[in-house]
Assembly symmetry: C2
Homo-oligomer: 186 residues x 2
């Protein structure tokens, strides 16, 4: 059970949708707004090789039509297991505070990989951790605010409002899953 970097899991999650080449993956990182990963070849190709070495992914040269050699990567059974294990990890307080990007990535992949019920459960854990943390950070602002410079106080308020926006969003998402239940309709 080798642990992967966040980029590694992003690649695994994308390859779970369908096999792709390194170049395809780069284009996704370069052109879609939800991805904040680097599209540099120096990051992606070594990451793909690491995944291949670890047996999560397998690359095959595909003689697609005319162009130069393309290596298509597809997920192995071990890769799928690693993806599922990563998605099933409980949502911790530390995740909510320091690793929001990772949580969002996990959520984005959960529904297709583990199903809507698991996605809803993930959101409930997320909302619960957030709801527990927000009062604490607000309390911190009340206690320490007067000793902070105005810009520091404002920056902290921005953080609080971001957390609150995420909690509102999470509750909307939970409601959406509740209404639609087990529907698979897109």
């Amino acid at each position: 059970m080798n642990t992967q970097s966040l980029l590694g899991y992003a690649l695994v999650g994308l390859l779970h949708q369908h096999p792709m080449s390194g170049y395809d993956l780069r284009k996704i990182f370069a052109s879609t707004p939800m991805m904040s990963f680097s599209d540099s070849p120096g990051a992606i190709y070594p990451a793909l090789h690491r995944l291949e070495t670890d047996g999560l992914v397998r690359g095959k040269v595909s003689a697609s039509a005319s162009l130069r050699q393309r290596r298509e990567f597809c997920l192995t059974a071990k890769g799928l297991a690693a993806l599922q294990a990563w998605l099933k990890k409980p949502v911790t307080r530390d995740d909510v505070i320091r690793r929001t990007a990772e949580l969002m990535l996990r959520f984005a992949f959960t529904e297709q990989t583990l199903g809507a019920a698991q996605a809803a459960r993930f959101m409930q854990e997320f909302a619960a951790e957030l709801a527990a943390y927000i009062p604490e950070i607000k309390q911190y602002l009340v206690s320490h605010g007067s000793a902070m410079p105005r810009s520091g106080r404002l920056a902290l308020e921005c953080g609080i409002q971001e957390y609150e926006a995420r909690l509102r969003w999470a509750r909307q998402a939970i409601a959406a899953y509740g209404r639609k239940g087990k529907e698979t309709k897109s």
Copy 2:
């Protein structure tokens, strides 16, 4: 004009408030909610040494009372200049999309370093870039949403709501600076 890592600028900004030891800085990163930096000694001490090598910071062993040797670091003139140059950089679209954490750090330090007028100008640039970007990402959701899985769409919506929360916050901050004008009162 050596460019520093984000951690380097965080240290420089904190040392501008008042001289501190590496241990003090670690405690700040470990205990205050606004900081998402690592408090590991393997990050902070090497970063301080880099800053010292670059001449932005100077450390002195202070025989403070009883305890073991403490090295207090203080900002040099060159360090202050580097901090100011960093804070004065224009806010780009790419900053708003990919480097929110850096922007918040810059804002948190701007008022004490460059004054309230500069902090207000910073917020106006930030709000302008955000206001220009939000419609684009919303348009993307409209165009591509139907081709995305539900969880991907939801994750993107979360991003949009975060951007909107930041914009609301930025406008509040601008209003606060407008009302209070040149007051220095905390």
